[in-house]
Symmetry: C2
Subunit: 142 residues, 2 copies
DNA sequence: GTTGTTGCAAACAGTTTGCACGAAA
DNA sequence: TTTCGTGCAAACTGTTTGCAACAAC
Protein backbone atom coordinates (compact mmCIF):
# COMPACT_ATOMS: atom_id res chain seq x y z
CA UNK A 1 0.00 0.00 0.00
CA UNK A 2 1.75 3.06 -1.21
CA UNK A 3 0.21 6.30 -0.19
CA UNK A 4 0.59 8.73 -3.03
CA UNK A 5 -0.73 11.98 -1.69
CA UNK A 6 -3.97 12.64 0.08
CA UNK A 7 -6.17 15.39 -1.29
CA UNK A 8 -7.86 17.49 1.41
CA UNK A 9 -11.61 17.01 1.32
CA UNK A 10 -12.23 20.62 0.36
CA UNK A 11 -9.94 20.34 -2.61
CA UNK A 12 -11.57 17.12 -3.68
CA UNK A 13 -15.03 18.65 -3.45
CA UNK A 14 -13.80 21.57 -5.50
CA UNK A 15 -12.42 19.22 -8.17
CA UNK A 16 -15.75 17.51 -8.60
CA UNK A 17 -17.71 20.75 -8.57
CA UNK A 18 -15.35 22.28 -11.11
CA UNK A 19 -16.20 19.37 -13.39
CA UNK A 20 -19.89 20.10 -12.90
CA UNK A 21 -20.30 17.14 -10.57
CA UNK A 22 -21.57 16.87 -7.04
CA UNK A 23 -19.39 15.80 -4.18
CA UNK A 24 -20.92 12.67 -2.68
CA UNK A 25 -19.76 10.19 -0.03
CA UNK A 26 -19.64 7.48 -2.71
CA UNK A 27 -17.37 9.48 -4.97
CA UNK A 28 -15.12 10.39 -2.10
CA UNK A 29 -14.88 6.76 -0.94
CA UNK A 30 -13.96 5.57 -4.43
CA UNK A 31 -11.30 8.21 -4.84
CA UNK A 32 -9.87 7.54 -1.36
CA UNK A 33 -9.43 3.92 -2.32
CA UNK A 34 -7.38 4.78 -5.38
CA UNK A 35 -5.46 7.29 -3.35
CA UNK A 36 -4.52 4.56 -0.87
CA UNK A 37 -2.88 2.20 -3.32
CA UNK A 38 -0.72 3.03 -6.29
CA UNK A 39 -1.26 -0.44 -7.72
CA UNK A 40 -4.75 0.64 -8.60
CA UNK A 41 -7.90 -1.43 -8.89
CA UNK A 42 -10.26 -3.00 -11.34
CA UNK A 43 -13.93 -2.09 -11.21
CA UNK A 44 -14.84 -5.33 -9.47
CA UNK A 45 -12.10 -4.84 -6.90
CA UNK A 46 -13.42 -1.40 -6.05
CA UNK A 47 -16.96 -2.72 -5.91
CA UNK A 48 -15.89 -5.57 -3.62
CA UNK A 49 -13.90 -3.28 -1.34
CA UNK A 50 -16.78 -0.85 -0.99
CA UNK A 51 -19.62 -3.38 -0.86
CA UNK A 52 -19.79 -3.10 2.98
CA UNK A 53 -20.55 0.59 2.46
CA UNK A 54 -23.35 -0.39 0.09
CA UNK A 55 -21.85 1.30 -2.93
CA UNK A 56 -23.21 -0.27 -6.09
CA UNK A 57 -21.05 -1.16 -9.04
CA UNK A 58 -22.95 1.16 -11.33
CA UNK A 59 -21.70 4.01 -9.20
CA UNK A 60 -18.20 2.61 -9.37
CA UNK A 61 -18.31 2.56 -13.17
CA UNK A 62 -19.70 6.07 -13.36
CA UNK A 63 -17.28 7.53 -10.83
CA UNK A 64 -14.28 5.90 -12.47
CA UNK A 65 -15.35 7.33 -15.81
CA UNK A 66 -15.70 10.76 -14.23
CA UNK A 67 -12.28 10.56 -12.60
CA UNK A 68 -10.82 9.46 -15.92
CA UNK A 69 -12.35 12.47 -17.63
CA UNK A 70 -10.95 14.65 -14.87
CA UNK A 71 -7.59 12.99 -15.61
CA UNK A 72 -7.16 11.83 -12.05
CA UNK A 73 -7.34 8.19 -13.03
CA UNK A 74 -5.39 6.47 -15.79
CA UNK A 75 -6.12 3.12 -17.32
CA UNK A 76 -3.22 0.70 -17.47
CA UNK A 77 -2.77 -2.53 -19.37
CA UNK A 78 -4.11 -5.45 -17.40
CA UNK A 79 -3.69 -9.15 -17.96
CA UNK A 80 -7.31 -10.28 -18.03
CA UNK A 81 -10.20 -8.72 -19.84
CA UNK A 82 -10.91 -6.31 -17.03
CA UNK A 83 -9.45 -2.82 -17.01
CA UNK A 84 -7.31 -1.55 -14.17
CA UNK A 85 -7.11 2.07 -13.11
CA UNK A 86 -4.50 3.94 -11.12
CA UNK A 87 -4.44 7.39 -9.59
CA UNK A 88 -2.42 9.94 -11.51
CA UNK A 89 -1.85 13.65 -11.87
CA UNK A 90 -3.68 15.35 -14.73
CA UNK A 91 -1.76 15.84 -17.95
CA UNK A 92 0.28 13.71 -20.32
CA UNK A 93 2.44 11.11 -18.68
CA UNK A 94 3.45 7.50 -18.99
CA UNK A 95 2.91 4.74 -16.54
CA UNK A 96 5.55 2.38 -15.31
CA UNK A 97 3.90 -0.73 -13.92
CA UNK A 98 5.48 -3.46 -11.79
CA UNK A 99 4.59 -6.86 -13.21
CA UNK A 100 4.88 -8.42 -9.77
CA UNK A 101 3.05 -6.13 -7.35
CA UNK A 102 1.31 -3.95 -9.97
CA UNK A 103 2.55 -0.80 -8.31
CA UNK A 104 2.49 2.03 -10.82
CA UNK A 105 4.51 5.22 -10.97
CA UNK A 106 4.23 8.05 -13.44
CA UNK A 107 7.02 9.36 -15.62
CA UNK A 108 6.23 12.83 -16.80
CA UNK A 109 9.46 13.77 -18.49
CA UNK A 110 9.70 11.05 -21.09
CA UNK A 111 10.48 12.95 -24.23
CA UNK A 112 9.60 11.10 -27.40
CA UNK A 113 9.68 14.10 -29.70
CA UNK A 114 12.96 13.06 -31.30
CA UNK A 115 11.59 9.63 -32.02
CA UNK A 116 8.35 11.08 -33.36
CA UNK A 117 10.24 13.28 -35.78
CA UNK A 118 12.32 10.35 -36.98
CA UNK A 119 9.21 8.26 -37.55
CA UNK A 120 7.47 11.11 -39.32
CA UNK A 121 10.40 11.35 -41.71
CA UNK A 122 10.56 7.61 -42.31
CA UNK A 123 6.87 7.01 -42.83
CA UNK A 124 5.37 10.27 -44.03
CA UNK A 125 2.96 10.29 -41.11
CA UNK A 126 2.09 13.47 -39.29
CA UNK A 127 2.59 12.04 -35.83
CA UNK A 128 0.16 13.52 -33.32
CA UNK A 129 0.83 11.51 -30.22
CA UNK A 130 1.48 8.15 -28.66
CA UNK A 131 0.46 5.66 -26.04
CA UNK A 132 3.39 4.42 -24.03
CA UNK A 133 3.56 2.22 -21.00
CA UNK A 134 6.57 0.58 -19.43
CA UNK A 135 6.61 -2.58 -17.40
CA UNK A 136 9.21 -4.28 -15.26
CA UNK A 137 9.98 -4.90 -11.62
CA UNK A 138 9.89 -2.21 -8.99
CA UNK A 139 12.79 -1.92 -6.56
CA UNK A 140 10.91 -3.80 -3.84
CA UNK A 141 10.04 -6.75 -6.07
CA UNK A 142 13.40 -6.95 -7.76
CA UNK B 1 -6.69 -0.96 -49.52
CA UNK B 2 -2.99 -1.25 -49.08
CA UNK B 3 -1.55 -4.54 -50.09
CA UNK B 4 1.25 -5.34 -47.74
CA UNK B 5 2.78 -8.49 -49.14
CA UNK B 6 1.05 -11.65 -50.18
CA UNK B 7 2.32 -14.87 -48.66
CA UNK B 8 2.42 -17.77 -51.12
CA UNK B 9 -0.02 -20.47 -50.12
CA UNK B 10 2.75 -23.00 -49.49
CA UNK B 11 4.48 -20.65 -47.13
CA UNK B 12 1.26 -19.91 -45.33
CA UNK B 13 0.51 -23.63 -44.95
CA UNK B 14 3.99 -24.11 -43.57
CA UNK B 15 3.53 -21.31 -41.06
CA UNK B 16 0.41 -22.90 -39.65
CA UNK B 17 1.89 -26.38 -39.62
CA UNK B 18 5.02 -25.10 -37.90
CA UNK B 19 2.75 -23.79 -35.15
CA UNK B 20 1.17 -27.23 -34.85
CA UNK B 21 -1.97 -26.09 -36.64
CA UNK B 22 -3.72 -27.35 -39.73
CA UNK B 23 -4.03 -25.32 -42.85
CA UNK B 24 -7.74 -24.85 -43.56
CA UNK B 25 -9.68 -22.76 -46.10
CA UNK B 26 -11.16 -20.76 -43.22
CA UNK B 27 -7.77 -19.88 -41.81
CA UNK B 28 -6.46 -18.95 -45.21
CA UNK B 29 -9.49 -16.74 -45.93
CA UNK B 30 -9.10 -14.91 -42.65
CA UNK B 31 -5.42 -14.31 -43.19
CA UNK B 32 -5.97 -13.16 -46.78
CA UNK B 33 -8.40 -10.57 -45.53
CA UNK B 34 -5.85 -9.09 -43.15
CA UNK B 35 -3.25 -9.28 -45.87
CA UNK B 36 -5.48 -7.20 -48.14
CA UNK B 37 -5.88 -4.20 -45.88
CA UNK B 38 -3.31 -2.62 -43.61
CA UNK B 39 -6.03 -0.81 -41.68
CA UNK B 40 -6.92 -4.15 -40.14
CA UNK B 41 -10.25 -5.40 -38.89
CA UNK B 42 -12.25 -6.06 -35.78
CA UNK B 43 -13.60 -9.54 -35.17
CA UNK B 44 -17.09 -8.55 -36.23
CA UNK B 45 -15.79 -6.95 -39.43
CA UNK B 46 -13.98 -10.14 -40.36
CA UNK B 47 -17.05 -12.21 -39.52
CA UNK B 48 -19.26 -9.94 -41.62
CA UNK B 49 -16.86 -9.97 -44.57
CA UNK B 50 -16.60 -13.76 -44.52
CA UNK B 51 -20.22 -14.55 -43.71
CA UNK B 52 -20.99 -15.30 -47.40
CA UNK B 53 -18.36 -18.02 -47.15
CA UNK B 54 -20.14 -19.38 -44.10
CA UNK B 55 -17.25 -18.83 -41.75
CA UNK B 56 -18.53 -18.61 -38.19
CA UNK B 57 -17.34 -16.03 -35.75
CA UNK B 58 -16.02 -18.65 -33.37
CA UNK B 59 -13.55 -19.58 -36.06
CA UNK B 60 -12.68 -15.94 -36.53
CA UNK B 61 -11.89 -15.56 -32.84
CA UNK B 62 -9.82 -18.71 -32.76
CA UNK B 63 -7.91 -17.94 -35.93
CA UNK B 64 -7.13 -14.40 -34.85
CA UNK B 65 -5.83 -15.71 -31.56
CA UNK B 66 -3.67 -18.21 -33.41
CA UNK B 67 -2.30 -15.55 -35.75
CA UNK B 68 -1.58 -13.36 -32.76
CA UNK B 69 0.37 -16.16 -31.11
CA UNK B 70 2.25 -16.65 -34.37
CA UNK B 71 2.99 -12.91 -34.24
CA UNK B 72 1.46 -12.30 -37.64
CA UNK B 73 -1.31 -10.17 -36.20
CA UNK B 74 -0.95 -7.27 -33.76
CA UNK B 75 -3.66 -5.70 -31.71
CA UNK B 76 -3.93 -1.93 -31.95
CA UNK B 77 -5.81 0.56 -29.83
CA UNK B 78 -9.35 0.97 -31.06
CA UNK B 79 -11.93 3.56 -30.15
CA UNK B 80 -14.83 1.36 -29.09
CA UNK B 81 -14.77 -1.69 -26.87
CA UNK B 82 -13.89 -3.99 -29.73
CA UNK B 83 -10.31 -4.88 -30.52
CA UNK B 84 -8.79 -4.25 -33.91
CA UNK B 85 -6.04 -6.36 -35.43
CA UNK B 86 -3.58 -5.61 -38.18
CA UNK B 87 -1.14 -7.79 -40.11
CA UNK B 88 2.47 -7.46 -39.02
CA UNK B 89 5.81 -9.16 -39.25
CA UNK B 90 6.83 -11.30 -36.27
CA UNK B 91 9.07 -9.69 -33.70
CA UNK B 92 9.03 -6.57 -31.55
CA UNK B 93 7.79 -3.48 -33.33
CA UNK B 94 5.54 -0.51 -32.81
CA UNK B 95 2.48 0.42 -34.73
CA UNK B 96 1.79 3.79 -36.23
CA UNK B 97 -1.92 4.17 -36.83
CA UNK B 98 -3.70 6.79 -38.90
CA UNK B 99 -6.58 8.30 -36.95
CA UNK B 100 -8.44 9.06 -40.15
CA UNK B 101 -8.21 5.94 -42.34
CA UNK B 102 -6.86 3.56 -39.67
CA UNK B 103 -4.03 2.48 -41.93
CA UNK B 104 -1.24 1.04 -39.82
CA UNK B 105 2.45 0.78 -40.53
CA UNK B 106 5.14 -0.85 -38.43
CA UNK B 107 8.24 0.84 -37.12
CA UNK B 108 10.84 -1.70 -36.19
CA UNK B 109 13.78 0.51 -35.38
CA UNK B 110 12.33 2.58 -32.57
CA UNK B 111 15.02 2.42 -29.95
CA UNK B 112 13.76 3.17 -26.47
CA UNK B 113 16.71 1.73 -24.61
CA UNK B 114 18.11 5.13 -23.69
CA UNK B 115 14.76 6.19 -22.29
CA UNK B 116 14.38 2.90 -20.44
CA UNK B 117 17.76 3.38 -18.77
CA UNK B 118 16.87 6.91 -17.76
CA UNK B 119 13.60 5.76 -16.25
CA UNK B 120 15.28 2.89 -14.48
CA UNK B 121 17.66 5.34 -12.87
CA UNK B 122 14.91 7.77 -11.89
CA UNK B 123 12.47 5.26 -10.47
CA UNK B 124 14.49 2.27 -9.36
CA UNK B 125 12.48 -0.01 -11.62
CA UNK B 126 14.09 -2.81 -13.56
CA UNK B 127 12.45 -1.97 -16.85
CA UNK B 128 11.69 -5.07 -18.88
CA UNK B 129 9.77 -3.69 -21.80
CA UNK B 130 7.11 -1.37 -23.07
CA UNK B 131 3.97 -0.99 -25.09
CA UNK B 132 4.19 1.84 -27.56
CA UNK B 133 1.86 2.95 -30.28
CA UNK B 134 1.89 6.15 -32.30
CA UNK B 135 -1.05 7.83 -33.88
CA UNK B 136 -1.45 10.66 -36.33
CA UNK B 137 -2.36 11.21 -39.96
CA UNK B 138 -0.87 9.24 -42.80
CA UNK B 139 0.44 11.09 -45.84
CA UNK B 140 -2.75 10.40 -47.81
CA UNK B 141 -5.05 11.71 -45.11
CA UNK B 142 -2.93 14.70 -44.22
C1' DG C 1 -8.12 -43.75 -39.31
C1' DT C 2 -6.72 -40.38 -36.04
C1' DT C 3 -6.80 -36.05 -34.43
C1' DG C 4 -7.60 -31.26 -34.90
C1' DT C 5 -11.14 -27.88 -36.70
C1' DT C 6 -15.63 -25.99 -37.51
C1' DG C 7 -19.93 -23.84 -36.39
C1' DC C 8 -23.88 -23.67 -33.90
C1' DA C 9 -25.95 -22.53 -29.49
C1' DA C 10 -25.46 -21.61 -24.91
C1' DA C 11 -22.82 -19.67 -21.29
C1' DC C 12 -20.03 -15.95 -19.56
C1' DA C 13 -17.86 -11.55 -18.28
C1' DG C 14 -17.63 -6.77 -18.42
C1' DT C 15 -20.18 -2.73 -19.10
C1' DT C 16 -24.25 0.25 -19.99
C1' DT C 17 -29.01 1.80 -19.44
C1' DG C 18 -33.95 2.73 -17.51
C1' DC C 19 -36.07 4.20 -13.78
C1' DA C 20 -37.86 5.34 -9.06
C1' DC C 21 -35.98 6.94 -4.86
C1' DG C 22 -32.87 9.81 -2.31
C1' DA C 23 -29.45 13.33 -1.47
C1' DA C 24 -26.52 17.62 -2.84
C1' DA C 25 -26.67 22.27 -3.95
C1' DT D 1 -37.02 22.73 -4.37
C1' DT D 2 -34.68 21.67 -8.21
C1' DT D 3 -31.44 18.91 -10.25
C1' DC D 4 -28.21 15.42 -10.12
C1' DG D 5 -26.60 10.90 -8.19
C1' DT D 6 -27.58 6.26 -6.55
C1' DG D 7 -28.57 1.45 -6.85
C1' DC D 8 -31.19 -2.17 -8.35
C1' DA D 9 -32.37 -5.08 -12.26
C1' DA D 10 -32.45 -5.86 -16.91
C1' DA D 11 -30.35 -5.32 -21.29
C1' DC D 12 -26.31 -5.42 -24.18
C1' DT D 13 -21.79 -6.34 -26.24
C1' DG D 14 -17.74 -8.82 -26.84
C1' DT D 15 -15.72 -13.24 -26.03
C1' DT D 16 -15.35 -18.17 -24.62
C1' DT D 17 -16.85 -22.98 -24.26
C1' DG D 18 -19.31 -27.71 -25.04
C1' DC D 19 -20.19 -30.69 -28.36
C1' DA D 20 -21.38 -33.40 -32.63
C1' DA D 21 -20.33 -33.39 -37.43
C1' DC D 22 -16.58 -32.85 -40.47
C1' DA D 23 -12.03 -32.21 -42.76
C1' DA D 24 -6.76 -32.19 -42.74
C1' DC D 25 -3.00 -34.94 -42.29
Amino acid sequence: MNTIYVLPQKELRHLFNKAGLRFTPQREAIWRLFESNSAGFTVSQVAAALAPQKIGQTTVYRTIKALQDMEYLKRVHAEGGEHRFVASRPGHSHMLVCRSCSKAVECTDCDLSVLEKLIAKQTGFAVEGHHLEFFGLCSECF
